[in-house]
Symmetry: C2
């Protein structure tokens, strides 16, 4: 698929940070940043920009906060070809703490929201845009959004300076048909205003790459992936697969393969992600992975059938 | 997807046998056979029916040969709800060694062929049909087949008593667009004669399940999968994902989850399959996995970038 408008965004450090409370060491982040710049991706997301008034630096690593000094320390001396992005969550950020764009190496701020938080997201988008940043809005848990709410949110977002609005399959619950439907829906509201559609898939059902392809075919132009598919639980669309699918000659696979063998194989000995059945089960049931996370931290981590049954034994609802 | 015509075929023992020379012990095969019968799948493939004149029983386990006594030993005492199938490879079978259907618990014989072997496959299909078996033909390495050869083969197969003809993505190289195209092509030749189209995907690019869904949507009705995706290298479409996608209430997920936790987790400690980068690389390059298998057996098993480069440093071709 060769379409020059496609922008690839790597969120290895940001999404992978959900596994280890954002505690990647500088050597690892530098290696990832260097490999990605060489690979030709368009954006590299280095973490969250949460407020230290809300999260304690004692509990979280530096990529939860992305202080300017920390960002500069891991990127200096490496040729910056890609833009840098950070993510903010509604209610976990103090917007006044964000610098003017001219004083930061960050290029883009991505606002993560649930569909009902659209007004708060638009407030942040407007604020960051005025400070000089590119912005996106990532609508999480899209597989549980009600259609009238989504359509209203898309209509509102279409009137903002946002660069792209993402379909985020947080629960890894969607099939290609549903991706198809959602990308069409987003496009209808956003493309006439020059706003792109983005896709961010989770791999609970081994569909992250397949659904990303479907989104690309349908016209999504902001495409998220992570190296070796790293991410909480099942992880994300693997960057190495995405780059080999995209035919634009600006993308290089070798730097990604090299950083996997040097940095990710040792990491995989210490951190768990990939095709793990409790996350497959929350995916097929369209549930938040929190129950699977809890299970994996306990002694019953491999009691798959009991875990599956636990969802059908809940109280009846009226 | 609820379509009563869909038949699910499990090839856990047969395709998994490519990893361990078909040396699964009886306890494991019984557990798999029992779980699958309880899960509601339509066919259970228990191995190859190769000739002992061609392969030595000293080197291969009993599921390379599927002697009637061995089949009966692992299935007796378990209620037989599913049909039993075996696979034969062109040139690796003595057709006269196969019993009459009335003397066997095997219900179906699947003939695996490359597209140029169609005349030999038809000879076997006719022979086994006369002996009383259902038959399918599985066209391997479809991603390298030339279209005129494929069309001629499909036209010839449409005149045989074969029950289904499979698209087999042996190299795990195909994307959904190509699956879409191939299923349409097969259907055009086969469906008017009452012959079904089948799909068998390999998971090199994490697309086995996604491409299987695409094939189902396009009308494929014979669907292959294996428990926990077991199979040589990257493995196959995982049965647990397929069953949770299919909405026919005859399918039960719990027996599959249970056999995974009891039998497959211990096996995974001893046998390798899944998302392994050398197989991803042969997949994206549309190559037979033999080079990846060789790499994984050597000291450079994790030298992904060098392995990738080795394909572009081959001699020039005219």
């Amino acid at each position: 698929m060769y379409r020059p408008q496609i922008k690839v965004l790597d969120c290895t450090i940001r999404d992978g940070g959900l596994i280890n409370d954002c505690k990647f060491d500088d050597k690892f982040v530098r290696a990832v940043y260097k490999a990605l710049n060489e690979s030709g991706v368009d954006y590299i997301e280095l973490g969250y920009q949460a407020s230290k008034k809300i999260f304690s630096p004692d509990k979280f690593g530096k990529w939860k906060f992305c202080d300017e000094d920390d960002l500069r320390a891991v990127t200096e001396g490496i040729e910056k070809k890609a833009k840098i992005s950070v993510m903010v969550d509604i209610g976990r950020v103090e917007k006044s703490e964000v610098k003017q764009k001219k004083d930061s190496i960050v290029d883009m701020i991505r606002v993560a929201m649930y569909v009902k938080e659209v007004d708060k997201a638009i407030d942040l988008v407007n604020y960051y845009s005025e400070k000089g940043y590119e912005t996106t809005v990532n609508i999480m848990a899209i597989s549980t959004a009600l259609m009238p709410d989504l359509e209203e949110a898309l209509a509102q977002l279409s009137e903002t300076p946002v660069k792209a609005v993402y379909v985020v399959d947080s629960f890894g619950a969607l099939f290609s048909e549903q991706i198809h439907f959602l990308i069409e829906k987003y496009k209808k509201y956003l493309n006439p205003k020059g706003i792109e559609v983005g896709i961010h898939c989770h791999n609970n059902q081994q569909l992250a790459f397949g659904n990303t392809i479907e989104a690309i075919r349908m016209g999504a132009n902001f495409i998220d992936a992570t190296i070796f598919g790293i991410g909480r639980g099942p992880g994300n669309c693997p960057m190495e697969l995405l780059l080999s699918f995209l035919k634009n000659p600006k993308f290089k696979l070798e730097p990604v393969l090299e950083v996997i063998e040097k940095e990710f194989l040792p990491l995989k000995e210490k951190m768990e992600w990939g095709y793990i059945l409790p996350y497959m089960i929350t995916g097929i049931l369209n549930q938040h992975p929190r129950t699977a996370i809890a299970l994996r931290n306990g002694k019953d981590k491999d009691k798959y059938a009991d875990f599956y049954r636990s969802f059908s034994s809940k109280e009846e609802m009226d």
